[in-house]
């Protein structure tokens, strides 16, 4: 046997800095992949925006009501993020499973759980960029004034966490039951209808309002609206139980999604089903 060289650990090892670089690497890759699909992405964005406007016309009785646009815009924004998060974490991960890049992405030195965080960060970045572009166009076209207060960042963050958890949940389930990937558009459509994208949830019948509160992003969007449009304070949404519920929902959804997704990856490694 001869003495030979092995690759040493990179500077800094596999610690948090390596994790952050990996998140950056996944994000860059996701944006590159997204840009490579620009021929379908741009019409897709256009379609989403047009659909939003058409429904606004419908709800406004043939007119676009600025007030209504502003009120529903955050729901639309959450829908776009959720739409892409679901698409990438379920259909996208399944596609990577079948093309072998999912396995290759796990051939790095970092643990699969860290890779999941990178993938999730990339998905959310992609969703946010798309949502901001789509919302920006809508704001410019309708010259809608969106009030903003820094407190709104809390429910915005909660909404992102909620959607991330839901995307992990569906992505994890899709890895175990492949057919879920093929009904992803149905799930996205239901999400759009019940998360308050077009209709504020308080106009729903009581039973439906209670039911949709369990849907991802609904509670976060509701708190955003209360802070920005109902001019409630952070204390008021807290004491009214809206913010605690949103926190609880986001935490529970993310925990559930994380457990299911990591379980699916572990099961995939155990059964050799990731490629």
């Amino acid at each position: 046997m001869v003495a030979v060289a092995t690759l040493p650990r990179p500077a800094g090892g596999f610690g948090p800095a390596a994790g952050v670089r990996m998140v950056g690497n996944e994000t860059v890759k996701a944006l590159q992949v997204m840009w490579s699909h620009k021929a379908t992405l741009v019409p897709q964005l256009g379609f989403m925006a047009i659909m939003f406007w058409v429904i606004q016309f419908f709800l406004g009785g043939g007119r676009v009501l600025d007030e209504l646009v502003a009120l529903t815009l955050f729901g639309f924004w959450a829908y776009v993020v959720g739409y892409l998060a679901l698409l990438r974490m379920a259909a996208g991960v399944l596609e990577e499973k079948f093309t072998g890049t999912l396995e290759q992405s796990l051939l790095g030195p970092l643990r699969p759980a860290v890779v999941s965080i990178g993938r999730l960060a990339a998905v959310l970045t992609e969703g946010l960029v798309t949502a901001l572009v789509a919302s920006g166009v809508t704001i410019l076209v309708f010259t809608v004034a969106i009030p903003f207060r820094p407190e709104a960042l809390i429910p915005i963050l909660l909404t992102l966490v909620d959607l991330a958890g839901f995307a992990l949940l569906i992505g994890g389930l899709a890895l175990v039951v492949n057919s879920i990937g093929s009904i992803i558009h149905v799930i996205q459509s239901v999400l759009m209808l019940i998360n308050g994208t077009f209709i504020p949830i308080y106009v729903f019948p009581d039973w439906l309002e209670t039911l949709v509160k369990f849907a991802p992003s609904t509670l976060g969007v509701d708190v955003i609206r209360r802070l920005l449009f109902a001019e409630q304070s952070l204390g008021e949404v807290w004491s009214g139980g809206h913010l605690p519920l949103a926190i609880l929902h986001a935490a529970a959804m993310f925990a559930l999604g994380w457990v299911v997704y990591q379980g699916a990856i572990r099961r995939g490694l155990r059964d050799g089903r990731l490629g």
């Binding site: 060289a5 690759l7 670089r21 992949v33 890049t101 396995e103 051939l107 790095g108």
Partner: protein
């Protein structure tokens, strides 16, 4: 044991361990009566710089073994050590030693360019952009892809896509390269390029190459050593030459420049006569050289030109068939 005298900054660690060590590796899928044992107590060791052929029929357990070496499948029992690192316990260090092209998959992102793919996979394994750039350029130039580096891999031919997959596996300059059916689906020219690269990786760069393939002529040509797996178990584990020698048969083959009809009456008992490549081919059935001497004497008397006398040497393909049939 000697340390490598000069090492570049990347290959700075020196270890006196086998490249790969597999101990009692077992993989069972499922539980209870329906459990399927894909790999059953497989053990082998691969030294650095070897080309190691892992052979077996479909479903023998080759790919599962490769995936256990890369940490992509968790073993039910046993351990796999890569560069001395336990894949189960020191996964990060272990997988950094490996570049892999896996069977039947794209391995790289077709919607990204070749350049973007190499950067992505380099960073995935912990390299910085400044380390990746020169290596990526070198690989893409050598593989003839440099001019097309900014094109999406999806528009490339199958052979070029496979070259990108090979380049992505090599971008970190790993000491161990796992190639699972690397020439499957490739045309003759592309397959030849991959073969040439395997030789180059092993001979010129000193890399350890684990090769699984159904192209046994390629395995025979390239492998220093072969392991044959059947039903998840190792049925042969020998240096290629030694394996071939073991199957040298105890019979002789004489080739002579004569019409077959003229030799029918000179055959010793049990010998067979056939025409091959325009020559008469006589096979003598045993290791006993007396019939051979008698035959050669007769041929000399008749002034029949003898072209060659050989002990029959089956190729790896014939040996493989015997091994997987349990003969």
């Amino acid at each position: 044991m000697q340390a490598t005298p000069s090492l570049d900054p990347v290959h700075s660690a020196v270890r006196a361990v086998p490249a790969l060590e597999v101990r009692g590796l077992t993989k069972r899928y499922g539980r209870g009566p329906n459990a399927v044992t894909a790999v059953d107590n497989v053990s082998f060791t691969v030294s650095y710089g070897q080309v190691f052929g892992l052979l077996g029929p479909n479903g023998a357990g080759k790919t599962t073994t490769i995936k256990m070496l890369t940490g992509l499948v968790t073993p039910t029992e046993g351990a796999a050590l890569v560069g001395g690192y336990d894949v189960g316990r020191q996964r990060g260090d272990a997988v950094r030693q490996i570049g892999a092209v896996l069977e039947g998959s794209r391995n790289v992102y077709w919607s990204l360019t070749a350049w973007q793919n190499l950067h992505y996979f380099g960073r995935l394994k912990g390299l910085r952009a400044a380390q990746i750039r020169p290596r990526a350029e070198q690989l893409l130039r050598e593989l003839g892809l440099w001019e097309r580096r900014h094109q999406q891999v999806g528009v490339f031919s199958r052979g070029m896509q496979q070259k990108v997959a090979v380049a992505a596996a090599l971008v970190t300059d790993p000491p161990i390269v796992l190639l699972d059916e690397p020439t499957i689906g490739l045309d003759v020219d592309a397959a030849r390029t991959v073969r040439r690269w395997i030789v180059r990786l092993a001979r010129d760069e000193g890399k350890t190459v684990v090769l699984t393939t159904h192209q046994l002529a390629m395995a025979e040509e390239l492998s220093d050593r072969v392991v044959v797996i059947r039903d998840g178990r190792v049925v042969a584990d020998l240096p290629t030459r030694e394996l071939l020698d073991r199957y040298v048969e105890d019979r002789y083959e004489v080739r002579a420049a004569s019409p077959v009809g003229e030799l029918a009456d000179v055959l010793p008992a049990g010998a067979t006569l056939a025409r091959a490549d325009g020559q008469a081919r006589i096979e003598l059935p045993s290791a006993d050289q007396r019939p051979l001497h008698a035959l050669l004497a007769t041929l000399r008397e008749r002034e029949v030109p003898v072209l060659s006398v050989n002990r029959v040497q089956p190729g790896l393909e014939e040996i493989f068939v015997k091994l997987v049939r349990g003969e």
